[in-house]
């Protein structure tokens, strides 16, 4: 039997979404099989995920909280990946952003007692700048020296973690524990539950303002991609860099700018996590958001609103998946999902032909 791949001329528009959904379903089935294999109960586990993530308004709110940093880091990855710039450093940029935002309060850059209306935007700025810095370094190396950005961004992830650990265990440590002091109230991003006095229904809902930032970022990115000159230029660079140069586009500058913005978005995610959820800096602040973001970006085929949707789903997975034993299963499922997505993407581009041996070699 001879299985061949044949390039499709012009794939129908429904093909990609259908195959993508099919890929996720297949991945979940494989995950179920593995779960069963190691002695778990897949049906109960999956039902539990749905219930634990979307069961009532309270857990839905928690899911959105988990989704917020995923949206921002997912957008960061989608932006870079569109141009085939492999920013694997969203994790490190997230951590740097968390650090930068914390620095505003803990060094402190702003004196105690500064009103929230000043503190919050400053933290946002600091977080974005720190993340941008962490992204610009590999960006410049790639643009000017052709250095492989996969390695550099990845290595900087480890450096970022060590950097945070230094501050958390050292100068900012609270009584020798592995976390910093809690932030003052002015440094907390407003949450829905803060308005429980006026609207009792909001009591206990932890969704915070970061979600709004994330959605605004998605909207801006969507407009940029589809309606601006930059979107066109990025399309061109992503498809054929030589043609982009031929068209007069300064690719080196794009690389640096895109890495900076990508880093800034991830940094903002770090700020929102530290200011909206944990209210202090810890070294365990990220359960791998930056890596999950890679899968989210790929699943969303780099489209901003699809990133939002995928982030909610993965937020659910992270939230409820914590209770799945053994602990490596969600990570494994992520890998399987990515593989299935890859195959789906191939099947979108190629038609599979199963022929007899006598067909021409190809």
């Amino acid at each position: 039997m001879n299985v061949r791949l044949e390039l499709r001329g012009d794939p129908p528009r429904w093909l990609s979404p259908v195959l993508t959904i099919a890929a996720v379903v297949v991945a979940l089935v494989i995950g179920a099989v593995v779960l069963a294999f190691v002695g778990g109960d897949p049906v109960r586990a999956y039902l539990h995920i749905v219930d634990a993530a979307f069961g009532d308004i309270g857990v839905l709110s928690d899911t959105l909280v988990k989704a917020t940093p995923l949206i921002l880091t997912g957008l960061a990855c989608a932006l870079a990946f569109r141009m085939r710039l492999w920013n694997i450093g969203a994790e490190g940029q997230f951590l740097l952003g968390a650090w930068g935002a914390s620095a505003v309060v803990l060094i402190p850059i702003l004196p105690a007692g500064t009103p929230a209306i000043v503190v919050i935007p400053t933290m946002m700025l600091a977080g974005a700048l720190a993340g941008a810095l962490w992204g610009i370094v590999p960006g410049v190396l790639r643009a000017r020296l052709g250095v492989n950005e996969i390695i550099t961004t990845l290595m900087l992830n480890y450096v970022a973690l060590a950097w945070i650990q230094f501050w958390v265990f050292g100068p900012w440590s609270e009584g020798g524990f592995q976390q910093t002091v809690a932030f003052p109230r002015e440094a907390w991003l407003p949450r829905l539950t803060d308005f429980a006095a006026q609207f009792p229904v909001l009591a206990g809902l932890t969704t915070h303002l970061g979600l709004v930032f994330a959605l605004i970022a998605a909207a801006i990115m969507s407009i940029v991609f589809s309606r601006t000159r930059w979107g066109y230029e990025m399309r061109l660079i992503g498809d054929n860099a030589r043609a982009a140069r031929y068209a007069g586009i300064d690719i080196a500058r794009y690389i640096i700018v895109v890495f900076a913005i990508s880093g800034a978005l991830a940094g903002l995610a770090g700020m929102s996590e530290v200011s909206g959820v944990v209210h202090r800096l810890q070294d365990r602040i990220s359960p791998g958001y930056g890596f999950t973001a890679i899968i989210i970006a790929y699943l969303a085929r780099f489209g901003p609103w699809r990133v939002v949707l995928a982030s909610v789903l993965f937020g659910a997975l992270i939230l409820a998946g914590r209770e799945i034993q053994p602990s490596g299963v969600p990570a494994m499922i992520q890998g399987v999902i990515l593989f299935c997505l890859i195959v789906a993407e191939v099947l979108t581009r190629y038609r599979v032909r199963i022929g007899r041996r006598a067909v021409a070699p190809a």
């Binding site: 044949e6 001329g9 012009d10 309606r227 601006t228 000159r229 930059w230 979107g231 066109y232 230029e233 399309r235 061109l236 498809d239 054929n240 030589r242 043609a243 982009a244 140069r245 031929y246 068209a247 007069g248 586009i249 300064d250 006598a358 067909v359 021409a360 070699p361």
Partner: protein, 515 residues
């Protein structure tokens, strides 16, 4: 006469196209057999079947009277049939000797490069193909690389050598050398199949000619004596071919492009352009004749801002040398690149996106930072109609376009941008006769509208048909200039292309160094 190889009833089709329609073809021992046809006629497909790269859907092949079935090029090589393709299958970073070794069975495991180099040198000397066996392939000229390809086949013991458009990359003198080699190979009892679309060469070298058109054989194994070029052309194209170009008398205007003492390196860091100088005026076509690899591609890249250089490149007085491509574009330079799919277009983006590649910075497509989708589509629609680009929809990805259509798209876009200077590099390569005529007419129209055109081409006939002046580039220098060139200048031009100088042709007025 003994038949070295014969093919009978070959049928081969690809999605949407019947490339070979019940084709018969035979090759005698000790002959040079030319396979003639225009681009797309099916010659390469037929030869790929014979060389084992493709499997025919129907039909059979016999070698030395025995039926054979080739499942891969290996089988064909084992049967004594070898092919030199248009795009060489050499590994650039490896040496000549290593390349020769690549497909052999011996030595099985341990390599003795010194011994192989000696063997290669010996064989090369015997058949008159000079090449240095320890040189790395990327260091060789295109003509030398071709010799390596032929040596590879001989090393494998090929009895039938198939050469696909071998003269495309050679200057006239090198062509003569190649013909001598082919004659001597035929004299040894080998057979040569020579694929070409060039009538003159085919008549010069072939013992027999087979003509193909649209997948079928229109003349099988005919004798070149007593056949005229017009006859062959008709067999190739099916109608009397007379390129009737509308060429108006123009007076060249101001100097649009002035290149002064420009030097540039190639991708390997070796000097490709050395102190070149030339100028092009408005309303004239300046042709650049050069054998592949003499710096003309790099020169085009220098002018269009795709390669850095030293010296001055003045477009309407503005120096664009060693500046980003954007500067050249803003100065009014248009570029029809040699590599249509790799440089001139974004294959997976739509026709719209590709057609507005020169217009996306200006209104109406650009409104501030925004991109007006409607304006882009209507411009694309307008260009599609005006240049007859054949495609199902505007949103189809450009990679599905045929070569001719893609070139039409690129020309449409470049011409519509109203350039002051158009740099066109090998604009008709791989196109069929009809498409070639169309391109030529477009260039002439552009010329009469006052655009300055620099036409870089390996086809001397094309340059003679279009150019007001022909320059010759050799080893990175512009070494000769021919005003008002005539067909009789071909010999002199060819001589300059290989570095010789017979005293005819003028040295260009500007300082250019000696050959």
């Amino acid at each position: 006469m003994a038949l070295a190889m014969e093919a009978a009833g070959i049928v081969k089709s690809f999605p949407g196209v019947l490339a070979n329609d019940h084709v018969d073809f035979d090759v005698r021992v000790g002959e040079v057999h030319a396979l003639l046809g225009e681009n797309g006629a099916g010659k390469s497909t037929l030869m790929n079947v014979l060389a084992g790269l493709y499997r025919a859907d129907e039909g059979g092949v016999r070698v030395d009277g025995r039926d054979v079935e080739f499942r891969s090029p290996r089988d064909a090589i084992a049967a004594g049939i070898g092919m030199v393709h248009q795009h060489f299958t050499l590994v650039p970073s490896q040496t000549v000797a290593e390349n020769v070794l690549l497909g052999l069975d011996r030595p099985r495991f341990r390599l003795d490069l010194t011994r192989t180099e000696a063997e290669v040198a010996a064989l090369a000397g015997r058949v008159g193909l000079r090449v240095d066996p320890s040189a790395r392939v990327w260091q060789l000229s295109v003509g030398e690389q071709q010799r390596v390809e032929i040596l590879k086949l001989l090393f494998h013991g090929a009895r039938v050598l198939i050469l696909d458009e071998p003269t495309a990359v050679l200057a006239p003198q090198e062509i003569a050398e190649l013909f001598t080699t082919l004659r001597s190979l035929a004299g040894e009892g080998r057979s040569v199949v020579f694929i070409s679309h060039k009538l003159g060469e085919v008549l010069a070298i072939a013992d027999r000619i087979t003509v193909m058109r649209a997948g079928r054989v229109t003349a099988a194994g005919i004798d070149p004596h007593g056949v005229s070029r017009a006859d062959l052309a008709r067999l190739m194209v099916g109608r009397p071919v007379l390129e009737s170009l509308q060429r108006t008398q123009t007076e060249p205007g101001r100097v649009v492009l002035a290149i002064e003492g420009v030097s540039a390196d190639n991708d390997r860091g070796l000097p490709a352009v050395r102190e070149a100088s030339l100028d092009v005026r408005a309303g004239e076509i300046v042709g650049m004749a050069a054998v592949a690899g003499n710096g003309q591609a790099e020169l085009a890249q220098v002018i269009t801002g795709m390669r850095t250089c030293s010296g001055r490149v003045l477009v309407d007085g503005r120096d664009v040398a060693a500046r980003p491509s954007r500067v050249a574009i803003d100065a009014g330079v248009g570029h029809v690149p040699e590599d249509r799919a790799g440089v001139g277009s974004a294959p997976n983006l739509s026709l719209v996106d590709n057609l507005i590649l020169r217009r996306f910075r200006r209104p109406p497509v650009a409104r501030g930072p925004f991109f007006d989708e409607q304006a882009a589509r209507s411009k694309a629609q307008e260009l599609r109609k005006a240049y007859a680009i054949s495609t199902p929809t505007l949103d189809a990805p450009v990679r599905i376009l045929s070569g001719g259509n893609l070139q039409r798209l690129i020309l449409a876009r470049e011409i519509d941008a109203e350039p002051t200077l158009l740099v066109a590099v090998q604009p008709t390569r791989g196109l069929d006769v009809g498409a070639i005529e169309g391109v030529h007419q477009l260039l002439l129209d552009l010329r009469s509208r006052g655009t300055a055109i620099l036409l870089i081409s390996e086809e001397l006939e094309e340059l003679l048909a279009l150019a007001d002046r022909i320059l010759v580039m050799y080893e990175g220098r512009v070494i000769a200039s021919f005003e008002a060139p005539r067909a009789s200048d071909v010999g002199a031009i060819g001589l300059h292309m290989t570095g010789g100088d017979d005293g005819t042709g003028d040295a260009p007025e500007t300082d250019a160094g000696t050959a």
